[in-house]
Symmetry: C2
Subunit: 197 residues, 2 copies
């Protein structure tokens, strides 16, 4: 399996983390989106939307969209709840991540990390909506160890990707004690830090 991804992109890192966690082997093909490498003819034949991550399986079939990829790769693993309704509640967080979190939390960081803007020049409306998303998670995590309760799942993987680097886009995490606690525990689950608090 080949993962075409940008290692600065949280959406792409989700796929790497799930593979590493589940010991799924892969080749990583680095795609620099700012250099137009996701818009070449060769890449558009893999994904006509020109988006990373895109996975190519050994039989040549392809799959796009980070959350669809991690759901497929982890479909029979401990990262997906067995109960159908709890699994659907996990899906709900994955869709919420894509429509109410990533468009603000990731996009703030895109302006600073990719486009090189100072934090002070990030659109205040994006900052405001990013904080709304982070605040919603923080309130949820005040009563839950992980997004689905006691068990670490793909909902945590998906939401961790851009939440842990939100300060790079001007979204400080200091107001969110539960969120910071959850980031440490989720990073530990994924082996991203050796000495989680």
């Amino acid at each position: 399996m080949k993962i075409h991804g940008d290692s600065n992109s949280g959406n792409c890192l989700k796929v790497k983390w799930v593979c590493d966690k589940l010991a799924i082997s892969y080749d990583w093909i680095e795609i620099d989106i700012l250099k137009g490498e996701s818009r070449t003819g060769e890449f558009l034949r893999l994904n006509s939307a020109g988006q990373v991550p895109t996975v190519v399986f050994d039989d040549g079939r392809t799959l796009a969209q980070s959350n669809a990829i991690i759901k497929y790769l982890a479909r029979d693993s401990e990262l997906v709840p067995r109960d159908a309704l709890v699994a659907a509640q996990m899906d709900a967080w994955l869709f919420w991540e894509q429509n109410s979190h990533e468009p603000f939390v990731a996009v703030c960081r895109f302006h600073t990390v990719y486009l090189g803007k100072p934090v002070s020049e990030v659109d205040p409306n994006l900052i405001k909506r990013g904080h709304a998303a982070l605040g919603h998670m923080d309130r949820h995590l005040a009563g839950n160890r992980f997004m689905l309760g006691d068990t670490f799942s793909l909902a945590d993987v998906a939401l961790l990707a851009y939440t842990r680097v939100a300060p790079e886009g001007g979204l400080e995490l200091s107001p969110y004690a539960s969120l910071r606690r959850w980031i440490g525990e989720s990073e530990s689950e994924l082996g991203l830090r050796r000495n989680a608090s």
Copy 2:
């Protein structure tokens, strides 16, 4: 099962259509989001994000996010492919709908239908990105009867919701012959029109 929804909202109609198609019985609770009915204390106890649609099952458990709801309701039906990778490709369209289509195609219409703006005052950047999404679908549908090929699936349900009413938000469909053909066939699959071409 109770569906809390706004019958003007494509996201809410997706749930109704799947129930009607699969003969799943439900009570529809109309929620007027402009009157703040998705922000009352009572509603926020069902969905702390204050979003419709939200479904309440007979055992009291709840589920949010239109695409998570339709995936759950249709999980053992002909609307979801049996092959795991094809089902994952369906998921990819559902996530694409939420991050690359709905934020532009539905939001243009929100400004006109909900907020009462004339089409001429809709943000040109939203119009441009809406057309990019519609064009991407049209090119895909030039070679495919439905989004996944020959078989009608949840990918069609989800994408139909706002595509069929895109002109209400200023996104004319006249350039997109394949898309218009697909809208007719998908509406017929859902029984939304009696005399599809």
